[in-house]
């Protein structure tokens, strides 16, 4: 065990983030984007147990057998001072009070552990090294294991908290939300019984099922329509909405314009009040929107569907590059969504209002967002305006539940009215951060 303290394993970073919180660390390393070889994962895995797990002896036994090495536990240090040296020869360390084990293992060993630890294991996540965009709040975060305790036991992801989605009584019940993307992992336990046969359709030639073998669609569906993970952490907005899955991107994440147009038509014909599209193509300054997309989106709006689209990730603001809203997010009838980080600063990659009339309308949480991922991974944190978009879609569903007779224009107006103003340029954030009613 090279480093027992969670999240403090790399010397190459200046702000390490594990899960949802940042830990000040070594400041000598490169900043994000400096080094293309910057690692995303430490090579270790978190085993996260069900909330009420008290007995870890069976899990310790499986770890011991599978890894053929010593397994240390926080209970070993009840009357002793914890130190790295004391567990240096252990490949697994169980934080019993947190219900979490940190394991150094190969992927095939992790799969074996998952199969053998029968009950009590909620999920397995690779330990991520995420290079947080520096923000002032980082300086005030507590250090060490106390910070991990706080980070490991939140009741909601930062995005859910920031948008107030955990405070509303609305759930999106009886509101149809279409996610047009790479599909959904239909075996994911969090969506059991949520998608009907009529609520799924593939527009990818040669692929009949909406089963998601990429992951992007499952992540976006989780944010818009998911609920909580087995430990009780809320990660989805409209947890009782009716999910409509349109597979318009194949399992490599590629999709033709015609597939997307067909998906929009299908969702609108199925009376989805909200259509979420975390997809798009790069648009260069001076280019117009695509007429066919605008016609399809305007038609969907006329039929009662609000169409929410990612603004795109083609910018590098830290180097002074801001690119226009992508296509089809740049269509006048679409709601273009940008991304903010946990400090409510605009995401470095987020596009902005550059081309006249092709503006960002609103922002959502889009950096380090935890949501569902195809099994067996089950959950994963990623970033992008793709992640911000389903927050707006989910909250739009809450507004529709609250006001069943609202037209898309009225939902849009309500989004604007509820949005939290941020001290950012209008061209970056539009009306502000999306907030739940």
């Amino acid at each position: 065990m090279k480093a027992p303290y969670l999240g403090l394993s790399s010397s190459r970073t200046r702000n390490l983030t594990v899960g949802l919180e940042s830990f000040p660390s070594d400041t000598s390393g490169p900043v994000p984007g400096d080094d293309l070889e910057t690692p995303l994962y430490t090579g270790r895995y978190f085993l996260i147990f069900e909330k009420d797990t008290k007995d870890f002896s069976a899990a310790a036994s499986v770890l011991n057998t599978t890894l053929n090495t010593k397994v240390a536990s926080s209970s070993d240090f009840q009357n002793d001072t914890f130190s790295e040296e004391k567990i240096a020869d252990a490949d697994a360390f169980i934080y019993e009070e947190l219900g979490v084990a940190l394991v150094s293992a190969e992927q095939h060993q992790v799969q074996a552990i998952q199969q053998q630890v029968a009950g009590g294991l909620a999920r397995i996540e690779p330990e991520m090294v995420v290079y947080a965009i520096p923000f002032e709040a980082t300086e005030a975060l507590p250090q060490g294991i106390a910070a991990f305790v706080a980070a490991a036991a939140p009741s909601a992801t930062w995005g859910i908290s920031a948008t107030g989605s955990d405070l509303t009584t609305f759930t999106g019940q009886n509101v149809r939300v279409a996610i047009l993307d790479t599909g959904l992992d239909l075996t994911h336990p969090d969506f059991a019984g949520r998608v009907t046969a009529a609520g799924q359709s593939s527009f990818v030639p040669g692929i009949a099922s909406v089963q998601d073998l990429h992951g992007h669609g499952t992540h976006c569906t989780g944010i818009a329509c998911g609920n909580s993970d087995p430990t009780g952490v809320r990660y989805g907005v409209a947890g009782k909405s009716d999910i409509y899955i349109g597979k318009v991107l194949d399992n490599t994440g590629r999709g033709a314009q015609s597939w997307i147009l067909n998906g929009i038509s299908w969702a609108a014909a199925n009376q989805c009040k909200v259509i979420s599209m975390s997809l798009g193509s790069r648009v260069f300054p001076g280019l117009a929107f695509v007429t066919a997309y605008e016609r399809a989106i305007a038609s969907a709006v006329a039929k009662g569907s609000l169409v929410v689209v990612a603004a795109g990730n083609d910018s590098s603001r830290s180097t002074g590059v801001i690119n226009p809203v992508g296509s089809p997010g740049n269509c006048p009838s679409a709601i273009a969504v940008t991304a903010v980080d946990i400090g409510l600063k605009i995401a470095d990659f987020a596009n902005g209002s550059i081309n006249p009339g092709q503006d960002v309308f609103i922002g959502g949480p889009g950096v380090n967002v935890l949501s569902s991922w195809p099994m067996p991974t089950r959950y994963r944190s990623i970033s992008g305006t793709s992640m911000a978009t389903p927050f707006v879609a989910g909250i739009s569903a809450l507004i529709c539940e609250m006001n069943p007779g609202f037209t898309p224009a009225q939902v849009k107006g309500e989004l604007s009215k509820l949005a939290q103003s941020l001290p950012l340029p209008l061209s970056d954030i539009g009306c502000g951060l999306v907030k739940a009613p």
Binding site: S258, I260, S299
Partner: protein, 77 residues
Amino acid sequence: MMVDLIITLHKDDVKDMASLLERFKQEGLSISNVTDYGVIMGRGDKSIIEKLSQQKEVESVMEDYYTQLPPPEADIQ
């Protein structure tokens, strides 16, 4: 060279869809889908793009193109 095409009609001409489809077929367009909002999807030789573009009922003709997400392992998606 055969290409996939997206043809958008002017709004005022959507009502004449049936006759326009017949005309486009005669130009060599193989039609795969027609929407009620005036967008037609089909396949034909690249040379028909210019012919279709010149028809007064047609607002735009473009080759179908692909959008691509980053790979699943990417941190920014």
